[in-house]
Subunit: 148 residues, 2 copies
């Protein structure tokens, strides 16, 4: 007599597989950060920032998931390297917005290309499985959106 796995058990196993796959891939790729003298914090900041849309320090901290003082420190380092710039807000003199410089945008693009590249094993999936995976993840993202 076949014992069918419970819905919850399948979900738990699925979540374990997904998080391990993602984390392992990220760790295996993080060598380039070291080579460029950047940290995961810098990467998160660059991924969040844009050249044309200034973000307040507080918003950066929130998006990155770090303390406000850490954001200050990160932006200091990025500014020293010429990757970002602080711009005083015109409407609220307490606020400082952060934008990517052209060099920062270029660096961001390189990092996106590296970390955004799908793992080999994903490309090796057959078309049907890949599409099923893509669709399920799209629905997860929507579902999450709806809950927030």
């Amino acid at each position: 007599m076949k014992r069918v796995k419970s819905r919850r058990a399948v979900a738990t196993e699925t979540w374990r597989l997904m998080s391990e796959f993602t984390m392992t891939t990220f760790t295996s790729r993080s060598g380039v950060l070291q080579q460029m003298g950047l940290t995961p914090g810098h990467l998160k900041a660059l991924r969040y920032l844009a050249a044309d849309d200034a973000q307040p320090m507080g918003a950066c901290a929130q998006a990155i998931g770090c303390d406000a003082s850490t954001a200050t420190w990160l932006v200091d380092r990025l500014e020293e390297r010429g990757l970002v710039e602080r711009r005083p807000s015109t409407t609220d003199r307490r606020v400082k917005g952060v934008v990517l410089t052209p060099f920062g945008a270029e660096t961001k693009a390189k990092l996106e290309a590296h970390f955004g590249e799908p793992p080999e094993s994903l490309l090796a999936l057959d078309a049907d499985a890949l599409e099923a995976l893509h669709d399920a993840l799209s629905r997860l993202a929507e579902e999450r959106q709806n809950r927030s």
Copy 2:
């Protein structure tokens, strides 16, 4: 005329969805670590260690993905809190193995329950999509295994 997305484009989008979902979930859950006075490094260490199977310091560092000296430091902190113990190897006097204490095992179980819990949105998927997701991820894990 319909322009079908290239295989690579689908894979890229899939990877983006997966990594964002995983990272966001992890970040949103990491509050408990702070409450317990632990860091992501401690979590990785606890997840790797076991009560009955001593692991050399070097193996810990490798598994955690940190420097050997960081592993020493992490295990120092965990030992101070009574979560792990160092045991000199009987066969090689250079080696020190690390095991979870009963309290460490208990703490690990709590953390596993918290971080291993599938996100709500995953449980909300219908059975077919969940199964498809699970199967595709299983194959990814196998595929990766074969490549290593």
